[in-house]
Symmetry: D2
Subunit: 371 residues, 4 copies
C-alpha cells in the first residue's frame, strides 16, 4: 500500500452533500409549511435503510462463505463475527424506536395524510433481508404471492423476486449441518443410547405432573396431553420417517440430518471444534429473536401512534405487524432444540476415538509427544 492516494476529506468520503439532501418533507412541498416532526420521520426511516443495507452486506458475505464447496475453517470465525455484527445492528434498530416514540400521535397527524399510500411494508431492503435469511413466501400469508412487492419499482421488484430463488442463509446452514463430518463416524451408536436416556427423562417429567398436588384436575390432564405431544415430537428425532411427516405437515422445517447435527453441536459444544458452530447456531437464534422483538415493539408503537385506525398503506396497521412478529421466524427449529437436550450427566459417553477428533491438531500432537 503506497502513500500516493489523493488526499481524502471526510465530507467527500461520506458524500455528505448528497446524503444530507435526501430529506424532502412533503408538508413543506405540498403546503409550504414544514411539519416539524416530519424531518424526524424521514431521518429515522433513512437510518433504518442504511442499516438494512449493512445487514444485506453481511448476509451476502456470510452466504458466500457457506455456499463454497469447502468451508475453510478460518472462515467460520469470520462468518460468526459478521452474524454477531448483525445482532449489534438489530439492537440499534430497536433502540431507534425510542427516538421515534418521542413523536406523539398528534405530531404524526400533522403530516400523515401526505404519505398515502406509502408504508414501511414497501421497504424492499427489508424484504430482501427476510428472503435472504430464509423466510419462505408461504410464511407471509398474503392474498397473493406477489402482494408483498407489487408496489415496488420494477428494479426493486426484480431484486426481491431474485432473492426468492437464491439459496437463503437458512438453506445454506441446513446444507452445512448435513455435511458436518463428525456425523459420519462408523460404529457410533450414539442415537440409540441417547434415545433411551431421553425416554427416562420424559418419564420423569410425567411423574412431576402426576404428583403435583396443586394442579387442578383439568389442568393436570391438559399438561399430560401437552407432554404426550412433546414426547411424540421428540421421538421424531430418532425416526426419520416421522420427522419427515412432521416436516410435510409444517411442524418442522429443518431436515432430519441437519437436526441431528445441530443437536450434537449443542450437546458437545465444549469440544474445541464445536465452539464456533455452537456460537453460530446461537447467533442465528438471536437474530430471529431480535427481529421478533423489533416487530413486537414496532407493532406497539404503531398502535400507540394510530390506535385502531388503518395505516397510510391502507392496511390495518399494528395487527399485521404483531402477527408477523411470531410467524416470520426462520430458525424456530434451532430455538426448539432445547426440547431434546439432556443434562451432561445423563449423556451417553462419546467413543474416545471420536472425541480425539474434536480437538486441535496441535494439542493432539502435544499429547502424542508426552506418550
Amino acid at each position: 500500500m503506497k502513500a500516493n492516494y489523493p488526499p481524502l476529506y471526510y465530507s467527500d468520503y461520506l458524500k455528505l452533500d448528497k446524503l444530507l439532501s435526501c430529506q424532502n418533507p412533503k408538508s413543506e412541498e405540498y403546503e409550504g409549511k414544514l411539519a416539524h416532526d416530519e424531518v424526524l420521520f424521514i431521518i429515522v426511516h433513512q437510518a433504518y435503510e442504511l442499516w438494512f443495507k449493512q445487514i444485506l452486506h453481511e448476509l451476502d458475505s456470510v452466504r458466500d462463505i457457506f455456499a463454497s464447496d469447502y468451508i475453510n475453517e478460518n472462515n467460520m470465525g469470520v462468518a460468526l463475527g459478521r452474524l454477531s455484527r448483525i445482532t449489534e445492528i438489530q439492537k440499534v434498530l430497536i433502540d431507534q424506536l425510542n427516538i421515534l416514540e418521542t413523536m406523539t400521535p398528534m405530531d404524526f397527524l400533522e403530516f400523515r395524510d401526505f404519505l398515502v399510500p406509502a408504508s414501511g411494508f414497501q421497504s424492499y431492503q427489508f424484504r430482501l433481508v427476510e428472503n435472504k435469511l430464509g423466510l419462505r413466501p408461504d410464511q407471509r400469508k398474503l392474498f397473493d404471492k406477489s402482494a408483498y412487492y407489487s408496489r415496488l419499482t420494477p428494479a426493486h421488484q426484480a431484486l426481491v423476486i431474485a432473492s426468492e430463488e437464491e439459496p437463503s442463509l437458512y438453506d445454506l446452514v441446513e446444507k452445512w449441518l448435513e455435511r458436518t463430518p463428525f456425523l459420519k463416524l462408523k460404529g457410533f451408536d450414539f442415537w440409540e443410547n441417547y434415545k433411551a436416556a431421553v425416554q427416562t427423562a420424559f418419564q420423569h417429567d410425567r411423574e412431576i405432573i402426576e404428583q403435583n398436588p396443586t394442579l387442578a384436575e383439568g389442568q393436570k390432564e391438559m399438561e399430560l396431553a401437552e407432554l404426550s405431544k412433546s414426547t411424540e415430537g421428540f421421538l421424531a428425532v430418532f425416526d426419520e420417517e416421522k420427522h419427515n411427516t412432521l416436516r410435510e405437515e409444517g411442524h418442522r422445517r429443518l431436515s432430519y440430518a441437519a437436526t441431528q447435527a445441530a443437536l450434537l453441536i449443542n450437546l458437545f459444544r465444549d469440544e474445541p471444534i464445536l465452539h464456533i458452530p455452537f456460537k453460530l447456531l446461537t447467533t442465528l437464534v438471536e437474530i430471529d429473536e431480535l427481529f421478533t422483538a423489533w416487530r413486537h415493539r414496532h407493532a406497539q408503537m404503531v398502535q400507540r401512534m394510530i390506535g385502531t385506525k388503518i395505516g397510510t398503506g391502507g392496511s390495518s396497521g399494528h395487527h399485521y405487524l404483531r402477527v408477523t412478529a411470531e410467524s416470520h421466524k426462520v430458525f424456530t427449529d434451532l430455538t426448539n432444540l432445547s426440547t431434546y437436550l439432556l443434562p451432561r450427566s445423563q449423556l451417553p459417553p462419546l467413543p474416545e476415538e471420536f472425541r480425539k477428533n474434536l480437538g486441535f491438531y496441535y494439542t493432539y500432537r502435544n499429547d502424542e509427544d508426552k506418550s
Copy 2:
C-alpha cells in the same frame, strides 16, 4: 438535622452479610457439587425481586397521591417522577435477560430438576405489581380464581388477596380523570363539533381504501369492514350508551367520562395545565408496553432454554408467558386513544374563556397588567 447520628458504614447500612448469605444453591445442598450457573440463576431472580420491591414502593406512593380527596398540583409532578422511575426499572428488568441468556440450555439442565415445582409464576411480588397496577382477576384466564396464588405461603397469599380488593392505580387514575375540572365548563359544545370533524376524517380514510389501486379485491373489502368497525367504535366516544355497551362486552374498560377527559388531555397537551397529565397518561402506556416487551422477551428466553418441554412449575412454559404478554395489559384504552385524535388544524377551536384557564396564574396576571 444534627450531626450526632451514630457513624454508619456501608456494609452495615446495606446489611451486606445478610444479603449475601441468601444464595443457597440446591445442586450444592443436594448433591454436594455446585452447578456453576445456579448461582447466576438465583442472583438474577433476587435482583428481580429487589426491583419488584422498589416498583411496589413507587406504586404504593403514587396510589396514595391519587387516593387523596384533593390532589395537590405539586404532587402531580412527584407522581409522574415516580412512574417514570418505574419505567427506568423496567428497562433494567429487560436488560437483565441479557445476563440470564448467557446461561445455555445445557447449563440450566445441570440443576433444573432440583427446582421442581418452583416457578417464577410464584413470585408474589410480581402478582402484587400486576394487581396494584390494575390487572383484573378475570384477565388471568385461569382454571380457578385462586390458581395464581395457591402455591404461595399463607402470609404472601394474604397480601395478594388483599391487593385484589384495594383500589388499583388503574381505578384511581380513572377516578381522577373523571374529576378533572376542565370538563365542567358550561356552554362548551366541544364534543358536537369534534364529532363532525371526526366523521369527515373517517370518510377520508374510506376514500383512501376505495381508491387504492393495488389492493386485491378481497383485501379491499376486509379493510373496509375493519374501517366500519373502527368508525362504529369511534362513535361510542360521543354516545355514552354505546360506550357502556362496549364496556359490558369487554371491548372497553375506561369509563365514558374518563375516556373523554383522557382524549382532551391528548388533544390539548400543549396547554401548561395539561402538560403533566399528558406525560402521566403517556407514562402509564409506557409501563404497559415495557411489561409487554419484558414478557415477550421472557417467553423467548424460556422457549430457548427448555424448548417445548414443561416448566419446573409443571406448566407448559413459554406459551403461558406469550399469552400474558398481550392479555395482561392494563391501560389498553389509553394506548388506543390515538384512534380518536384529529390533526390540530382540524380541531374545533377552544373557547377563549376556557383556554385562559389552562395557563398559569402568574402568566395570566401579567397579561392582565398589559391590558
Copy 3:
C-alpha cells in the same frame, strides 16, 4: 387537508436510490478489491451524520422558541420535548459504537491508509452542534482559532463560522433564566435567609471531616482546604461582585441573575409553574453528560482501534478525544448547582403570596370558589 395529493411510495419518499448510492468504498475504487468492513465504516458514519442533522433541526427550533421576545408557556413543553428527543438520539449515538466495535483493528487496517487525511474531526455538522449548544471557541484549545474548520469546504466553513456568531442555546437559556418573572417579587428576602441556612450546612460538613477518625492526617487537611474552597465558591451565590470575579477567571460561566434563577427552579421544582423549567435544566445537563459519555467511549474505541498510533487526520488520536470529553461541556454550572442546594426541611419558607403565583390559574379559582 384533502385526499388529492399524488400517491406517494416509500422508496420515493425516502429517496432510497439516492441515499443508497452514497456508499463508495475507496478500497474498491483504488485497488479493485473491497475491504469488507469499509462498508460498515462508511455506513456508521453516515448514520451519525443523519442523526447530527436531526439534532441540528431540534436545536434550531428550540433556539427559535427561546429567541422570541415573549415565550408562550405552551412552547416550553414543546422545547422540552425536543431537547428530550436529542437525548434519545444521543443514546443511539452511543449504542452505534457497539456496532463499530465489531470491526477489529486488523480489519480497519485493510483500508485505513486510503482515508488520509480524512477524520471525524472534519464533521462540520458536529462542529455546528457544538457551537449551537454553546461551546465557546476558546474551549477548543486549538493552535489557532480556525484550526477546527480549516479543512472544510468553503460552504461548510461558512456555516461553522456563522454559527459562532449566532446566539447559542446556552446564551438563550441564560437570558431566559435572567428574565424569569418570579425573581422580581418585592419584599422577598429569600436570599438572606438562604445564606444563613447554607452557612449552617457547611459548618456541619466541616465537623464531619474534623471528627472523622479514619482520615489520615494529610488527607484531613486536604479535605478541609477543599471544603474552604467550596464554601468560598458558595458565598459567591450571594455576592454578585465575587461571582463576577469567578466568571472573569473562568471558574463560572453563568451570569449572577441566571444562576439565582436556576437555583430557585431547583429548590422549588415541585411548584407547578417550575415543573417544566426544572425538567428543561435537567435535560440540558443530560445532553452534556451524554456527549461526554459518547466522547469517552469514542476515545476508548479509537485507542483500541489504533493504539497509540496517529489518526488518519494526522493527529494523536484518542488523546484529543479524551481531553474534549471533559473540556467541551457547556452546562457545567447547571450540573454543579447541587453544591448550593439545601434539604427541603432547612429551606426558608416561601411567602404565601409568592407561592400562590406558582400554581395554575384554574386551581386557584377553585380555591376562590370554596372560600
Copy 4:
C-alpha cells in the same frame, strides 16, 4: 438424578423473606419519617452488591481454569463464556445508573446526612473485583496502602488483604500467554520479518504528517515528536531489554513473552486455534472499558448529585471517581496492542508447517484422506 427431592417453592428457594427484610432506611429509624427515595438508594446499592457477588463467582472460576497446570482446551470456551457474562453484567451496572438518576439532588438531601461516613468506597466486594482482576495496590494512589480497606469490618478486611496476594486474572492470563505452545516453533524467523514490515509502516506515517499541508507549524513538530515516541515504543516489541526498561519505568506491565504471544493472537486470529484466545483477549479489554465507562458515568452522577460538595464518606466526591476511571485499568497493554498491528497484506507469511498446526485435527485428517 432422581425425582425424590423435596418440593421446592420459589420464595423459599430465593429466601425472599430474608432478602426483602434487608432494607432498613435510616430516615425512618432515626426520625420516624421515611424519606421516600432512601428505599431506592438502598435497593440500587444492594442490586450492585448482588451483581458484584456474581462477578466474583465468575472471576474465581475463570482464575481456577487458568491456574491449572494444563488448560484443557474445552475449558477455554467455558472461560470465555464466563468472561462474556461479566460484560453483560457490567452493562446492567451501567444501566442501573439510569434508575438512580431519577433521584434528584433535593431528594438525596432528605437522607444524606444520616449516612455519614458510609460510602461506596467501602464496598469490599468491589475492592475484591478490582484486586482479582489485577489492579495493583500502587495504582490506587492512596495516602497509605491500607486506606482503601481501613474502614471495613475485620472479616471483610481479611478478604481484601488476601486477594492482594492471590494470583489475579491478569497474572494468570500473562502466564498463560507466556506458555502458549505456538511460540516455540523452531526456525520461525517471524519477528525479524515483522520488524522490517513495521519500520516501513512507521516511515509511511511520518510522511503523512510531513506532507500534511493543513497542520500548523508547531503542531506538525508535536505530531512528529509523538510519532518518534510511538516508534521507539514499538521497537521495544523486538527488544526484550528495552521492553523490560519500559516495564520498570511503569510504561508497560505485560511481560515480553506475553506481549509477543498476544500480538501473534491478534495477527492470526482467524486461525481456528486462535479464535477463542483472540475473543478472550478482546473480552478482557471490554471488561476494562466497561468498568471505565461505569466509573465515568458514576462520577458524572455524583457531580450532579452533590456538585462540588464533599461525599458522605468525607472525600471530595466525583474527582476521585473520575481519576480512577482511567487509572484503574488493568489490561491497557492489551488495548494498546493495535499500535503494533500491520495489515494482513503486509504480514510476513507463516511457514506452512506452522499454519497446519493451527487447525483442527479432524480437518487435517480429511486433507490427508484426499491426498
